[in-house]
């Protein structure tokens, strides 16, 4: 049975971006049928801008997952950074840039702590980052006495809500989209570098990588730092777009993991591309948009994500050789 099923699956190089592009294409066709207006430049640009934070989180999560780990802390890290930024800025425009720098640096630092606990103390990253998730939630509540204080400056918020106006054909191009294009491009380049290739090697077979001179702990720690930094960037965009609340980043870690898995990246590491992960995020957002057009309640999102994770992992398992 499994043999015949396997035989019918198209032979596509595992981990390549083709499957996710195909899914994205199908969804676009469905959207075009149901809601043709959506594909007009204005609404499409706005959709891409809205999707930017989750694309960044997926890219960050990719580094961690491809090295064989998990980062569950990014959702609450986003919340923490949004709340912290609002309280520190407290409406003062002059504090915008220092706080932007602080948000990015502190988020990367949280990633560093995750990485060091995982690699030095050998705590499984699932536990490390679950602990960090809870610590961040608790710390933010404690620090802000139960409700968010202060507000973000307009300068801070423009990253998430403003756009370059009057671009030919496209109209408004959101800053958030530009941020994603730049950071996404950097991520793709990073994965083509020696660091990127050795990071995948660590996820595939850490022992073999170490015996070839790879410092696997260092590579994994850097992956956590990148994931933390991506969460910081996502917090800046998200805070600007949707404002300050304790729910700002709630559940985003699972959305990011779903996106990465959907993009053909193997849980457990060693396979998949960062471009695939980011396309996975875009596909997931498009799926949610399509559900919205079809009148499906947004409350079923977690169930859809769970189903996607299970399905994607099952398909990967069915394709990889059983020994």
């Amino acid at each position: 049975m499994v043999d015949t099923l396997r035989g019918r699956l198209p032979r596509v190089r595992a981990g390549g971006p083709l499957p996710i592009l195909a899914i994205l294409g199908v969804l676009l066709v469905l959207v075009a049928i149901r809601q043709p207006d959506f594909l007009a430049p204005a609404s499409l640009m706005s959709f891409l801008g809205r999707s930017a934070p989750i694309i960044l989180l997926a890219a960050g999560q990719y580094f961690v997952i491809v090295s064989g780990e998990f980062d569950l802390s990014v959702g609450s890290l986003v919340t923490a950074e949004v709340v912290i930024a609002a309280r520190l800025i407290d409406g003062e425009p002059a504090r915008t840039w220092p706080v932007v720098a602080l948000v990015l640096a502190s988020a990367a630092f949280v990633g560093l702590v995750n990485g060091l606990i995982t690699t030095w103390l050998r705590v499984p990253s699932f536990i490390t980052t679950l602990g960090m998730l809870l610590i961040l939630v608790g710390a933010v509540y404690l620090w802000s006495d139960g409700s968010p204080k202060g507000e973000l400056s307009e300068q801070f918020r423009r990253f998430g809500r403003r756009a370059v106006e009057g671009v030919p054909v496209l109209g408004r191009v959101p800053y958030a989209l530009l941020v994603v294009l730049v950071l996404g491009g950097l991520a793709v380049m990073l994965m083509r570098s020696d660091f990127g290739r050795t990071l995948i090697a660590v996820g595939d077979n850490a022992r073999a990588a170490e015996l070839s001179g790879v410092r696997s702990g260092r590579a994994r720690t850097i992956a956590f730092v990148l994931s933390g930094g991506a969460a910081g960037a996502a917090a800046i965009l998200l805070g600007g777009y949707s404002g300050v609340s304790f729910q700002a980043g709630s559940g985003l870690e699972f959305t990011a993991i779903t996106a990465v898995v959907l993009g053909g990246v193997a849980l457990g590491g060693g396979r998949g591309s960062v471009a695939g992960a980011m396309l996975g995020a875009l596909t997931l957002e498009l799926l949610f948009a399509l559900m919205n057009f079809s009148g499906v309640s947004g409350t079923v999102r977690p169930a859809v994500q769970g189903a996607i994770i299970l399905l994607a992992v099952a398909v990967t398992a069915a394709r990889s050789p059983s020994r």
């Binding site: 020696d194 015996l211 070839s212 001179g213 060693g270």
Partner: protein, 493 residues
């Protein structure tokens, strides 16, 4: 038993109309290079694959097994190279896994232990703790349990895949005795092995596979090693080992160890010269691998001194050793060598990428690596193919290329040709010898005595964590064994 069986994968025919029969009470050996189709053949007989053409006839009936489970129930047992026991379950539980004796709806533990003891006794396998977890047993004992597991289902045909690959020499003897007893009980055995000496020790008949076709089936008594090798590779392998170094070819001392010791080694004194291949013999657990791993910084020396080209070096980690110019090919290719899911090229570039700084050494590296992979004769559909699809021999060539790219001064090989087919073994030997000729110092651990003697300029033999003695390349197998087991020279003939 097999009637004109064929099987193709993705359009490639890996078995082409194979006929093969095993009679009760016979040991039938199947030999062939890697990729000859042995594994596929075994998987068809044991029910893991269905044949595209032809049929499996078992006990007079044409059978279509829908999976290994059905084949097992029918009486075909398969002993895998990598054993499939549950380490945390006891011997008895493993033997009866899936068909535990039941009384009043519960597993009858006492009955299970009794049956297991009886079964092991009838096998003549010697005492085994039937109530101990399998994880506490050695590899050889686990293999006995695996065989008992098949016999518990009343297996009439046992398929054994490279059963001696992980065994030490004295354990091999026990396995031989067990195989012979099983044959005496009328069980048919299909025995797959790379080691021709072993095949001649055990087999009644021998079938040679090459490129998915059956070359010949002959009674073991009517053929010779040379003839089999010729059938397997389709050419004569006289001059099997490359020429040794002449005394004048050897250069200065590359690597010197004085008084090296750690948890597994004591008082190791060793000198490797540029241009020489030094073989390391000894039993498993004698410290052979520990020596290579100490020199590579995996489990470093805690006492003593190591000098490389005259300068003291601290080999505290593999990375430090690599930077000092040392390369290491592990005996565990799958666990410590290859990145199974990465491409041939990514595998080959791994060490270079790990070592090079962010801005240096990248120009032309990929091009050079492609040439290097060609030079060591890696057979692949393309360097972008995932390495797990390559044969063991070709994987090993890729691992070798990984190190050659760094131009190492000292190479440490641990069982470099284990699980590698005859043709690729020969190619690897040539590369090793060429490296020495170009000025590297080579340390080569091997359990394969003909290889050890054929390749080495000198041989050191390890015993109980230290060097028991040194032999010239002209030594005999008996000399090596005598040193390894601690007998007086000449005592083992």
């Amino acid at each position: 038993m097999l009637r004109s069986v064929s099987k193709s994968f993705v359009g490639v025919r890996v078995l082409d109309h194979i006929d093969l029969d095993v009679t009760p009470g016979e040991v039938h050996a199947v030999v062939g290079e890697n990729g000859a189709g042995k594994s596929t053949l075994m998987k068809i007989i044991s029910g893991a694959y269905a044949p595209d053409e032809g049929s499996v006839v078992f006990a007079g009936e044409t059978r279509v097994f829908r999976g290994p489970r059905e084949a097992r129930r029918a009486g075909i047992g398969m002993i895998h190279q990598e054993l499939t026991l549950l380490p945390d379950r006891t011997v008895a539980e493993n033997v009866h896994l899936g068909h535990e004796p039941v009384r009043r709806g519960l597993v009858d533990r006492r009955e299970m232990l009794a049956r297991t003891s009886a079964l092991l006794t009838s096998m003549g396998a010697g005492p085994l703790p039937v109530d101990a977890p399998v994880g506490r047993l050695g590899i050889a004992q686990r293999q006995v349990v695996e065989i008992a597991k098949a016999l518990a289902l009343d297996a009439q045909l046992l398929i054994m895949d490279e059963p001696t690959a992980a065994l030490a020499d004295h354990e091999v003897e026990l396995l031989y005795a067990l195989v012979r007893r099983l044959r005496g009980r009328g069980i048919g055995l299909l025995y797959v092995s790379h080691r021709l000496a072993e095949v001649f020790d055990l087999a009644d008949r021998i079938t040679v596979l090459k490129d998915g076709t059956r070359v010949t089936t002959v009674p073991a008594a009517e053929t010779t090693t040379a003839e089999l090798v010729r059938h397997m590779v389709g050419r004569d392998l006289s001059g099997y080992y490359p020429e040794r170094a002449a005394p004048g070819d050897q250069g200065p001392v590359r690597l010197a160890v004085r008084g090296g010791g750690n948890r597994k080694l004591r008082d190791v004194n060793l000198r490797l010269r540029a241009g020489e291949v030094v073989g390391v013999g000894g039993l498993q657990g004698s410290g052979r691998s520990a020596l290579a791993r100490a020199l590579f910084g995996v489990a470093p020396f805690t006492t003593g001194e190591v000098r490389l080209d005259g300068r003291p070096v601290r080999l505290a980690s593999p990375r430090a050793a690599i930077r000092a110019g040392i390369a290491y090919v592990s005996e565990d290719r799958k666990g410590e060598g290859i990145l199974a899911r990465q491409s041939v090229l990514d595998n080959a570039l791994l060490a270079a990428r790990a070592i090079s700084g962010p801005w240096s050494g990248r120009a032309g590296r990929t091009t050079r690596m492609r040439e290097l992979l060609g030079a060591v004769d890696v057979r692949t559909a393309g360097v972008d193919q995932e390495i797990r699809f390559l044969s063991g021999g070709n994987q090993q060539k890729v691992v070798l290329a990984r190190w050659l790219a760094l131009g190492p001064r000292v190479l440490l090989f641990d069982e470099p040709t284990r699980g590698v087919d005859v043709g690729a073994t020969s190619a690897l030997h040539d590369v090793v010898r060429r490296l020495a000729r170009e000025g590297a110092a080579v340390l080569m651990i091997s359990s394969d005595l003909p290889e050890l003697l054929g390749m080495s300029d000198r041989i050191i033999v390890m015993r109980e964590g230290s060097i028991a003695g040194e032999l010239s390349g002209a030594a005999s197998e008996a000399d090596v064994v005598a040193l390894a087991v601690g007998a007086a020279p000449g005592a083992v003939a």
